[in-house]
């Protein structure tokens, strides 16, 4: 799924972005548990999480995740935004809950990282 479609489907606010809006994102991972991200995710995924903290960005950087979405309109602090910018991670905020956000992306064909 293209990045621009993820942004549109989630009615997302773009906090940081350093990549093409046409970029293809292959998989999705949704969790608040950072070890689950490390255990189950694949590179070139979008992470959907309620953990609007630096840890989500740091973990995504380690796991080669390019796009992070914070759910329920949670706004990160400036350190988190700065880290996302430095690591060239696209950071989005969606007003939707994790359940609804996942549903919207799944409905249009995006799938969970294969285990």
């Amino acid at each position: 799924m293209r990045l621009k479609e993820i942004i549109r489907l989630l009615d997302a606010v773009i906090i940081t972005n350093s990549r093409d809006y046409e970029a293809e994102i292959e998989w999705a991972c949704a969790t608040d548990l950072m070890s689950d991200v490390l255990y189950y995710s694949r590179g070139n995924s979008v992470l959907i999480t309620g953990l609007a903290k630096q840890q989500a960005i740091r973990t995504s950087d380690i796991a080669d995740i390019k796009v992070v979405v914070f759910t329920r309109g949670k706004e990160p602090d400036t350190h988190t935004i700065e880290l996302a910018r430095k690591k060239k991670i696209t950071l989005l905020i969606t007003p939707y809950s994790m359940f609804t956000a996942c549903g919207k992306l799944y409905e249009k064909g995006l799938r969970c990282c294969p285990e």
Partner: protein, 141 residues
């Protein structure tokens, strides 16, 4: 990667979430700059990050050492922590003794040690209650 073997280390301070993950990020950058395959770098980064987080969460302090050779990387994470009473139990997915403040930061899901084992070709753990824990991982290219 060059033909040489080279090594280095990072000191980790317990309880310091603001710098958590910086050692692993730096090691990842070293490997990427050396031109190593992405998938190998990802495995090393994930295994090291979990080890670094464990030191940060449970121990007073610790040291992460790495030895890179053309064929593999050896990572030794040694901490001055409480030690692990039952290693077999600690290796089970989902088992955790992490306090609530750690869980609020997105950690303590009980996947750290299993995740290190998953990404390493050779995984060894040695622990003495009241003294500390040493994890050794070898990841082959």
């Amino acid at each position: 990667m060059t033909d040489k073997t080279y090594e280095g280390s990072f000191h980790i301070v317990g309880g310091d979430f603001s710098h958590a993950g910086e050692a692993s990020t730096e090691l990842k950058t070293i490997l990427l700059n050396a031109g190593v395959e992405d998938e190998f770098v990802r495995r090393v980064a994930i295994a090291t990050f979990e080890a670094e987080m464990n030191i940060m969460i449970y121990a007073t302090a610790g040291i992460l050492r790495y030895i890179i050779s053309p064929e593999e990387i050896r990572i030794i994470a040694q901490d001055m922590g409480p030690g692990i009473e039952d290693i077999e139990l600690a290796m089970q997915e989902g088992y955790s003794t992490a306090p609530d403040w750690v869980r609020e930061m997105g950690w303590g899901a009980g996947m750290g040690l299993p995740n290190m084992k998953k990404n390493a070709d050779i995984f060894r753990i040695d622990s003495v209650v009241g003294e500390g824990t040493t994890v050794e991982m070898i990841i082959k290219r």
